[in-house]
């Protein structure tokens, strides 16, 4: 029973992380759409800002991945 509760807690924590990752990914999709439209219009003003913002989102995602890794290796609490 304790084990089941423990797994449920982990799954809930993961759902929170998943929501965060999904939100960041949607922001990145919006950013790449902006960059693509700018590129097709033969302009380059948005290329670097969108690249940096997308990089920021990706970094946060990597940090969350590290957290998931930690979550995987956390021992079952008593």
């Amino acid at each position: 029973m304790k084990k089941r509760v423990w797994w449920q807690r982990r799954a809930q924590a993961l759902v929170m992380l998943l929501c965060l990752v999904l939100a960041l990914f949607l922001i990145q999709l919006w950013l790449i759409t902006l960059a693509l439209e700018d590129h097709l219009a033969e302009h380059s003003a948005l290329a670097i800002p969108t690249f940096l913002a997308s990089g920021g989102c990706f970094l946060v995602n990597l940090m969350l991945l590290r957290y998931i890794h930690d979550l995987d290796h956390r021992r079952e609490e008593g």
């Binding site: 084990k3 089941r4 797994w7 449920q8 982990r10 799954a11 993961l14 759902v15 992380l17 998943l18 990752v21 999904l22 960041l24 990914f25 990145q28 999709l29 950013l31 790449i32 960059a35 693509l36 439209e37 700018d38 590129h39 097709l40 219009a41 033969e42 302009h43 380059s44 290329a47 670097i48 969108t50 690249f51 997308s54 990089g55 989102c57 990706f58 995602n61 990597l62 969350l64 991945l65 998931i68 995987d72």
Partner: protein, 182 residues
């Protein structure tokens, strides 16, 4: 007397099949959910990296492609070659850049890049309205200045500077945005 299903006997009878089932398949639903959601999250993060690289592609392409503000001087037509309202297509400043020369009046020539500033569809000259039409999303530009008249294009059409010498018309780089807006 009824126990209402709360006595130890009833509980053990109900639990027995479940325990047998769990012996055969000892996977918790919560654990299973955890693994599938974790894998999906990892996949999303991988896709996030790919999106970041996609943004990097646009930066690299902009850095590697030279800007054509001061392009080469290239002969594109002679004055007598075009009737009034006539159009000649050419490529400038490179073979990958379609452009169009338009004769608006006896002594008035204009040239524009042929790619719409919305999504790069080729624009066409509409002599009746003296405007350039983009058939993809109904964008329209003023054929005299390149200014946006309607539709989704966010910027004026890039205008090519022209030089006329001895009846010959030369393209001489891209005109500045202010010049293009007239």
């Amino acid at each position: 007397m009824s126990c209402g299903g709360n006595c130890e006997n009833c509980k053990s009878k109900e639990a027995a099949p479940e325990e047998k089932w769990r012996e055969d398949f000892p996977v918790e639903w919560a654990a299973d959910n955890y693994v599938t959601r974790r894998d999906f999250t990892r996949f999303l993060i991988l896709t996030s990296g790919a999106t970041f690289l996609g943004n990097g592609y646009f930066v690299a392409k902009n850095a590697l492609t030279p800007r054509a503000e001061s392009g080469p001087i290239v002969k594109i037509a002679t004055q007598t070659e075009l009737p009034i309202g006539g159009v000649k297509l050419f490529r400038y400043p490179t073979e990958a850049d379609p452009a169009m020369l338009i004769r608006l009046a006896e002594e008035r020539f204009v040239a524009f890049r042929q790619r719409c500033t919305h999504l790069s569809c080729p624009v066409h000259f509409n002599a009746e309205k003296t405007q350039l039409d983009c058939p993809c999303h109904n964008g329209t530009f003023d054929a005299r200045t390149g200014r946006v008249l309607g539709g989704p294009p966010p910027r004026p059409l890039p205008r090519i500077a022209l030089k006329i010498e001895n009846g010959e018309i030369f393209a001489a780089g891209l005109a500045s945005q202010d010049e293009a807006e007239g």
